[in-house]
């Protein structure tokens, strides 16, 4: 139990180190990529290059992924400061923000679904079936 917990914490510490590396490199090189996204790219490359083994981080990563939504809740609570703005122009803002989000979702999802179906059919429809399940 204690050993398990120690391994788990060490895995999260390793992810934290990679995150810090991402933040440092991003600010040092003035990259247009936030440190967290750069850290994700770094970890991905290290996994692909087999420098980091999946089992070194898998448990910690699975836990953080599962509860990713939790970390956004305290940030969303920050909207309480803007309740007046949201009350004042709430409907107009909703039309603009939600409207453009829906358009973006439709165009992105539609483009990918149509194009990948076409590619799949070109390759004798091998993956057309596996695409339909698990929604």
């Amino acid at each position: 139990m204690v050993k398990q917990g120690g391994i788990f914490l060490a895995q999260i510490a390793l992810l934290w180190l990679i995150y810090q590396a991402g933040v440092l490199i991003s600010s040092f090189l003035h990259l247009p990529v936030p440190g967290s996204v750069l850290g994700m790219i770094i970890l991905f490359l290290l996994l692909t290059a087999k420098v980091i083994r999946l089992d070194w981080i898998e448990k910690g990563a699975a836990f953080l992924n599962k509860h990713l939504a939790f970390f956004f809740i305290p940030i969303s609570v920050g909207l309480m400061v803007y309740l007046d703005l949201l009350k004042e122009s709430g409907i107009t803002l909703a039309v603009i923000l939600f409207g453009s989000s829906i358009i973006g979702m439709a165009v992105t999802g539609g483009t990918v679904q149509i194009l990948s179906k076409r590619t799949a059919e070109g390759k004798k429809g091998e993956s057309a079936h596996e695409q339909r399940h698990s929604v």
Partner: protein, 227 residues
């Protein structure tokens, strides 16, 4: 640690825990944890007279692992590398078309309602992760604080309504769903895609990163053109 901070942390964790159980038991867009928890916590804070300023130390402690949690999205990405490589071209085209559609439609709608340039600029960056939105808003003359607000609203909207919108539009391919939500609703949308399925989460995380890079490169020259 002050008692307000301790209370805020316990409250947030407890509300999240209950909202997660509820969402598993009764799957419904309005029970999406990031939305339902936020509403309940804001209500309790207002009711108990705690300001966001007093809540902020708790927020800083609780978001400490957001960075590492974003880094951890590399794992599902690694698991799904083959399919991502196979669909590299459709993905890239979808990403570019969708990002452009989100920006142009947001700016056109904002112009239609006679919004100021600071407001329009903040709307243009709303679909990307907040540090990038903040920086790019500054570059194009948008209000960075409003940008952060619109980023959160768009993210929560993507998490709550996104899956439903996609199903209504018959976008059922898990790969397309993940890419669509990651492109338009960054990390918050991704947190919901992770729950929907591993592939959706993986693609959404990758799309979030790619969209952040794309927007920071194209928006500074695209924005003056559509202004």
């Amino acid at each position: 640690m002050s008692s307000v901070t301790l209370f805020s942390i316990l409250l947030t964790v407890a509300v999240y825990w209950v909202s997660r159980r509820l969402a598993i038991r009764f799957p419904s867009p309005l029970l999406t944890p990031v939305f339902s928890s936020t509403v309940v916590i804001v209500f309790i804070l207002l009711w108990s007279g705690i300001t966001y300023e007093e809540y902020t130390p708790a927020k800083d402690i609780m978001t400490y692992l957001l960075g590492p949690a974003t880094v951890a999205l590399a794992v599902p990405l690694y698991h799904n590398l083959n399919i991502l490589l196979k669909k590299a071209w459709p993905s890239l085209l979808g990403l570019v078309a969708g990002t452009a559609a989100t920006i142009v439609s947001g700016v056109v709608l904002a112009k239609l309602f006679h919004f100021s340039e600071e407001m329009t600029g903040a709307i243009a960056v709303k679909s990307v992760t907040s540090p990038v939105a903040f920086d790019v808003a500054n570059v194009i003359g948008g209000d960075p604080v409003l940008a952060a607000v619109f980023v959160i609203i768009s993210g929560v909207f993507g998490a709550v309504a996104g899956p439903w919108v996609l199903t209504a539009l018959r976008i059922t391919d898990p790969f397309a769903r993940g890419l669509s939500i990651g492109t338009t609703a960054h990390g918050v949308g991704t947190s919901q895609m992770v729950v929907e399925g591993e592939m959706q989460g993986a693609v959404s995380g990758a799309a979030m990163g790619a969209a952040a890079i794309l927007v920071s490169i194209i928006l500074p020259w695209l924005f003056p053109l559509i202004q």
